[in-house]
Amino acid sequence: MKARWSTPLLLGVAVAAFAVAGRMHRPLRSQRREAQLDPVDPVESMPPLVAFTTVAFGGFRGIAADLLWLRATTLQDEGRYFELVQLADWITKLQPHFASVWAYHAWNMAYNISVLLDDHGDRWRWVRHGISLLRDEGLRYNPGSAQLHRELAWLFIHKVGGDMDEAHWRYKREWAAEMGALFEGPAPDFEALAAAPRTRTELLEEAAVAELVRRLREAGVDPFGARIADPAARPAAAAPILAGAPEAAAALLDFVRARRLREEYRMTPEAMAEVDERYGPLDWRLPQAHAIFWAYQGLRYARPGHERLSLDRMIFQSMVDAFLRGRLTADAERDVFLLRPNPDLLHRVRAAYEDALAEHPGDESIRTAHHNFLVDAVMVAFSYNRRREAQALYADLVARYPTERTLGGLDRFVARTYAEFMERFAPREAMVVVESAFYQSFFWEALGEPDQAAGYAQLGRLMWERFMAEREDPEARERLGLPPIAEIRARARERALETVRELRGAADAPTPAPR
């Protein structure tokens, strides 16, 4: 009797326990999130293979990871790098929720291994491996890790955007070329990309698009491949077909671009638009925009304190960088790749600093960074003939950080700072100052002030020569030097002309001759 009832009874209890456990799963997960133990449920983001591996190895997972780690270290010591990408992949997959492991391996590839290679193309490959590991894998398994968002932003702003590595120009060019294959101009059309269909089926419901796709296929062109969206690599057979159906072509290209952004770059047009709206207009071909993007994405997962501060810091540092050299002039045919200041970002950078100061009122490092930014900003605004903005910034500087140098009014402050700057310029600051001196020169010449114009031209030339004189070694010139003076003058002239046209109206603007 007992045996007959006990089995169904136990089975019933088991089923009931299973059901209760299932019902409790959701609230428990919410509680974990509320306590910020685990902002995103990890199991949801794990593919079956990794979920299986992490469970199947059991207690031996650590030993397997140790052995792989030992092999990776030995191979790296011996200068044999070909296995390291795979080993890093396995090591991280064995400990997929240990964010520091992802951070270490990405950093190791982007920093330690890349610098051991002489060829700049080889170096870029390893930097790219580091970025991919964090963005495509690390964040996939740890979408709620503020640390990994920060590390990724750091790779963009420091490794790609900075100038510590002698191959940094190559990195910037490669990244800009990658982005150039995704969208034309400095930024994608966020609205169009966000509105693009999510699936092929949805896209092909439009008869015109379906017809276009059919014709492209007939011509031997992959209508959904990466090359179709890249103006520089688009197959020749595709151009007339796309031109024949402009609206359908736009819909197809938007679909391909939006899909690549989502699937390959893990960025949604909606999130990009939000970042651009808040901090932009940014040039998305440049690493600063991506650093801001990833740091901003990490903010929602950051715990108050160090995590929040480090992401805020990443954002305003990247903003300053974008302000100082966040506008790209690129011309592959003429081999022109110029980074210039983006004065339009001034109020955004100020707002980012105000937010950070309000968020971390006692943090001295933010105040120091803010002070340095205000000095830079006064100089840039003054140099770009934005006197009213310069005056406002100067007033802010005097009010918040009064020093001996700030005494005596805006003009005296600028004169003193120019002299000091020359001693400690980094290329990006030098570029700002030299270009803005030439800008002033052309501007004042157009306005019929030849003396002032000549003074600025002389100042610009003197600064360029002085800066380059410190870098006689060809390698130092290549890495830390400025573009040729004629190139900088030509850009400054274009900008000055634009300003003068705006002031007077395009019809009667005089055209200053290039110096």
């Binding site: 011996e78 200068g79 070909f82 296995e83 990408v85 795979q86 992949d89 051991l116 490959r125 790219r128």
Partner: protein
């Protein structure tokens, strides 16, 4: 011999009938073809080929090792358990012939499976690097850097033993030896320091090393000097060096100047005409960088001369030969364990044996260190006794294991290093003839004396 071959044939037939061959073949095919599709290289075609060689053959080796050890264990243990062995032992065959027959049968299976895996990887490699699949420049680079067999010629080791011993004796007589270290360890440290000095280049100074080249370079195939150094200043800024290449008598001097980064691996071409008629080549390194940092080339592999010795296909075949020898030993180990123990125990015993061989480096280091508990005069007599005992154990283990250890043929193959026929011969002799033979004799002795007809 006919009896041995008959048992071998029975073993093969049994394996085929039990579908072991089919399952193993399928597993190997999946691993060899599927693995390169999932493994990620460094993004270069060279890296992909190296990964393919290293991992596809590596996985094939591991699968076959597990299968052969298991089949070896089962070969005799299950027949004893199922009372099948009596069918053979009651016939006029010697125990040794039974054991050898089983081993040869398993080796025949191994040869088929390893050969098949080898051909598959080789075919896959050719398919991946066929003309049209990759650019011609990449193919040329691949042929020059990976799909090639170059012998490593190390620098002639400088004499450091005598000077180190002299310095050691001087310090001992002056009472300068540290009290907390065993004297032999102090001597080893002195020796190591002198060796490091012989492979270092001081700031603004120079050093030179002599290489003995066994054969003239092949036409159009220059020597390559491969080097890697550490810098006493901890940065990665490149150092300007002048390399000189000359015959041992100072004639035929050539030189090249370049900037090299610490820790990176470089290969530079050595003009073949710099080699003297006596086959000796002196390579000098002059530090001409203004940075005051000494450079250290790792004695052993920090500075080697690479000489073209042959094509990749031959090297590949020799690598497979070395793998075969090692797998043959593992099969013998499994078979011997199966002769001694029941199947589960035999499995554990043979895996433990294989692990001991894998840990050979560690065991050798322990045997060399000789100190396990405390050292110096305060350690007491008990520590000394334990140390002596453990040292003897590890020395014996090291003595038994070291002949079974050798260079990894897959590493050599993937990095374009020459696998000498001598290595294949040595592996065959040691792993198959000597160790396989010893296991065969011991197993036969056990099998002869073992009571096989015990009731359950």
């Amino acid at each position: 011999m006919r009896r041995v071959l008959a048992i071998a044939a029975l073993t093969v037939r049994g394996a085929v009938r039990s579908r072991v061959l089919l399952i193993l073949g399928l597993m190997l095919a999946v691993a060899v073809v599927g693995l390169p599709l999932t493994v990620r290289g460094d993004g270069t075609i060279g890296g992909l080929v190296q990964i393919m060689l290293r991992y596809a053959l590596g996985v094939a080796f591991v699968l076959l090792a597990v299968a052969m050890v298991w089949s070896g264990c089962a070969g005799i243990a299950t027949e004893v358990r199922d009372r099948q062995i009596q069918m053979v032992t009651t016939k006029p065959v010697r125990a040794l012939e039974v054991w050898l027959g089983k081993w040869i049968g398993l080796l025949a299976l191994l040869a088929v499976l390893l050969g098949g895996a080898g051909f598959a990887v080789f075919g896959l490699l050719h398919w991946t690097t066929r003309p049209g699949a990759i650019e011609e420049a990449d193919r040329a680079r691949l042929r020059d850097e990976v799909l090639v067999a170059r012998a490593e010629i190390p620098a002639i080791a400088p004499e450091v033993d005598a000077p180190a011993r002299a310095e050691f004796e001087r310090r001992r007589s002056a009472g300068e030896l540290p009290a907390d270290r065993p004297p032999e360890e102090v001597f080893r440290m002195l020796r190591r320091t002198m060796l490091a000095q012989a492979f270092s280049v001081p700031a603004g100074g120079r050093n030179a090393w002599l290489f003995r080249v066994p054969r003239r370079p092949a036409p159009g195939r220059p020597f390559l000097l491969q080097f890697r150094f550490e810098k006493s200043v901890l940065d990665l800024e490149p150092v300007r060096l002048r390399w000189t290449f000359e015959a041992a008598d100072g004639t035929q001097r050539r030189e090249t100047v370049g900037e090299y980064r610490p820790r990176a691996v470089y290969t530079i071409a050595v003009p073949p005409e710099a080699l003297g008629p006596d086959g000796r080549l002196r390579i000098g390194c002059e530090h001409i960088d203004p940075v005051p940092a000494s450079l250290l080339f790792e004695p052993g592999d920090g500075l080697v001369l690479l000489q073209y010795r042959g094509a990749f296909a031959g090297n590949y075949a020799r690598a497979i030969g070395v793998l075969f020898a090692r797998l043959a030993f593992l099969t013998a180990l499994g078979l011997a364990a199966g002769t001694l123990f029941s199947l589960p125990v035999a499995g554990f015993a043979s895996v433990s044996g294989a692990l001991l061989i894998l840990l050979g480096d560690y065991i050798e280091r322990l045997a060399r260190a000789g100190v396990f508990f405390g050292a110096g005069p305060d350690a007491g007599w008990s520590a000394a006794v334990v140390n002596r005992f453990l040292s003897a154990v590890f020395r014996a283990l090291s003595f038994a294991i070291q002949p079974l250890r050798g260079p990894d043929p897959l590493d050599l193959l993937a990095t374009g290093r020459w696998i000498a026929w001598g290595l294949v011969g040595r592996e065959m002799l040691i792993q198959v003839v000597v160790y396989g033979g010893l296991l065969a004799l011991c197993s036969a002795a056990v099998l002869r004396r073992r009571e096989l007809g015990l009731p359950a």
